[in-house]
């Protein structure tokens, strides 16, 4: 039988009673957003806490990468393409949106392959695609490079900031005590497979569940985590089996690694994490926008008094920041967690009490 949502909530309450504090970290921007949107914290028992980790790709994109994007997008004859997510991310006083308003040719796309079509339609101009995201979007970027390479479209390049989730989680959660369990991202897991998160119980010794994004699915995953905690079991359970398989989408993973290889990456708020990024393989390096436009990374200053780095680690919640909701709002964001609608500060702000 399928249990109703009320049954799941009652189950959480019953199993959580007398359990002590359990802090569960979610590491997917869509989880952060859904948890707030569905008001899930308001119905959880007080000893069960949800905190947001570095799951929003916009938030963890390094300031120097944003600066490089602005430097490229501000050039004559460049058509700069990106997801809507990146448009408003500030760097100093500028953002892609402000460049767009001042007349630069910046276009929203919903798929990297849209950028290829734009390149084919504008053979005399350079088209750049701002590649951002984890394993969910990286295969799409690989598909763009594959198509550009096969079709010999040379006026396209990518500004690559792709990152991979497991390495960052290992770096973040090794040897810490504050986070007791992990809500694993269903979208990433649909690509790399539920087994890719086995390291959470096996190496980090934390219980975990792979979760979908509807209220019922998130609550069911929370229930499973509380059950694991209750019976002192350390495991990673796939609670999104309709979408996520044990091995994931092998074709997508194969495509991703055919065109890209692991590389060190800078995470905003977390610094350099070894082998947590993806760079273009040498034979496709000509599609790298940084090289094509001879951009050297400049290091903009991080905003002062911002505790986003600690929020991304799950040390602090947004409402513990002195600037939150005062001079740091989605209209005037200081830190990365406020700029993206998926960032934990923006989600807290949007759905604040």
């Amino acid at each position: 039988m399928r249990y109703g949502i009320e049954d799941v909530i009652n189950g959480i309450r019953a199993l959580a009673e007398g359990l002590g504090d359990v802090t569960i970290m979610e590491v997917c921007g869509t989880h952060t957003h859904s948890i707030r949107r569905f008001g899930i914290p308001s119905i959880l028992p007080s000893n069960i806490k949800l905190v947001s980790g570095p799951g929003c790709p916009v938030c963890v994109t390094a300031q120097e990468d944003i600066a490089a994007a602005l430097d490229i997008a501000d050039q004559e004859d460049v058509i700069f393409t990106c997801f809507g997510d990146m448009m408003r991310v500030p760097c100093g006083n500028a953002s892609l949106y402000s460049l767009y308003e001042s007349g630069r040719d910046i276009r929203l796309v919903t798929s990297p392959l849209d950028a290829l079509e734009i390149a084919k339609a504008n053979p005399g101009r350079q088209v750049v695609y701002f590649a951002i995201g984890f394993e969910t979007t990286a295969p799409h970027t690989a598909a763009l490079i594959e198509a550009a390479n096969n079709q010999k479209v040379e006026n396209i390049s990518i500004l690559n900031t792709h990152k991979t989730m497991p390495q960052a989680l290992q770096a973040l959660l090794s040897g810490q005590k504050k986070i007791n369990a992990l809500l694993c991202p269903g979208h990433v897991a649909s690509v790399i497979g539920a087994n890719a998160f086995r390291f959470v119980p096996e190496k980090l010794n934390l219980p975990a569940a792979v979760s979908g994004f509807e209220a019922y699915e998130i609550l069911a995953a929370v229930l499973k985590i509380i059950e694991l905690c209750r019976y002192n079991r350390v495991d990673c359970v796939n609670m999104y089996p309709g979408v996520v398989t044990a091995d994931g989408n092998r074709r997508a993973v194969e495509l991703m690694y055919r065109f890209m290889e692991p590389a060190d990456a800078v995470w905003r708020g977390l610094g350099i994490i070894k082998k947590s990024g993806l760079k273009l393989r040498r034979e496709y390096a000509r599609f790298d926008a940084l090289a094509r436009f001879e951009i050297t990374h400049r290091k903009p200053e991080e905003p002062k008094g911002c505790i986003c780095a600690r929020i991304l680690r799950g040390d602090k919640t947004p409402d513990e920041c002195a600037r939150f909701g005062k001079d740091c709002t989605p209209d005037t964001p200081f830190g990365p967690c406020m700029v993206s609608s998926e960032g934990s500060c923006a989600a807290y702000y949007q759905y604040r009490d």
Binding site: T110, T136, D331
Partner: protein, 334 residues
Amino acid sequence: MDDKITLAHGSGGEKYRELVREVFLPAFSNEYFDPLNDAAVLDGGAKIAMTTDSFVVKPLFFPGGDIGSLAVSGTVNDLAVSGARSAYISVGMIIEAGFETAVLLKIVDSIAKTAREAGVRVVTGDTKVIENRGASDGIYINTAGVGVFEPDRPIPPQKIEPGDRIIVSGCIASHGMAVMNARENLGFSPPIESDAAPLGKMVRTVLENPKNAVRAMRDPTRGGVAATLCEWVSQDTDIVLYENALPIKPEVSAACRLLGMDPLFIANEGVILFSVPENCADSVLNSLKSTEQGKNAAVIGEVKPGSGKVIAKTEFGARRRIVMPRGELLPRIC
């Protein structure tokens, strides 16, 4: 008439006359418009309502409507929710040189057709032609509207009271998502249709049956249902929204989810929000459902004593605060 609009058509000379004679006059002809004087002389009542709205739409044509139909329904709906009967509108156009006359004729036809449907007459107009700057979409339209308050016709006080029920007249977010789908070539198939339409007749039905039931009504255009509800609450009222009662077409809901957008914040052009006392809620709902445009009407919330908050209640009893939307909505992918 030339194939393209040129700067000469905006010069006020013979070309301008030709434009008026061959494009506007055949479409808008009536006893107020035809004299083509500097100002139209109108029959008015003791009390009138007036509004104006400018239309900048990309693309000019989208499933379910176009800039012309929107320019009429947007303005007459503003009049309708004031309680007035829409009587007259003006049509001012700013056109880029090089604009296809055939496209202009299509837009003008759409204005005329929507005006007939709304029972409103185009009584005056103006056209300017500007050089082609390449960046714009060829045409901008401003319409101003005058509505007449008829004797014995109830005028809603436009103030909500604790205990009121909030009713929405139809499925939300269709217009905004239809335009976004068309503008960004998102390729949702079948295409999402805009519900843009003049709603005066529906509003009239509700105002008269039952009489004096409506406390407040608004058309939730930009900013969506959320913006209107946030404007409605005052220092001593809250609105509790029943999230699972919101009528929304499945294709619109799916598109919103895919793009990470909240339908509460998406623009509507064919929907009205009403606040009515609890004991009138059923009769207003029935009255709405008896009209074509109100057939999907639903009670979506209630007004409570409070402190100016809009709170959504989810299906399993969780709560979240709805706050005023900000800035342009951009699709969220990663």
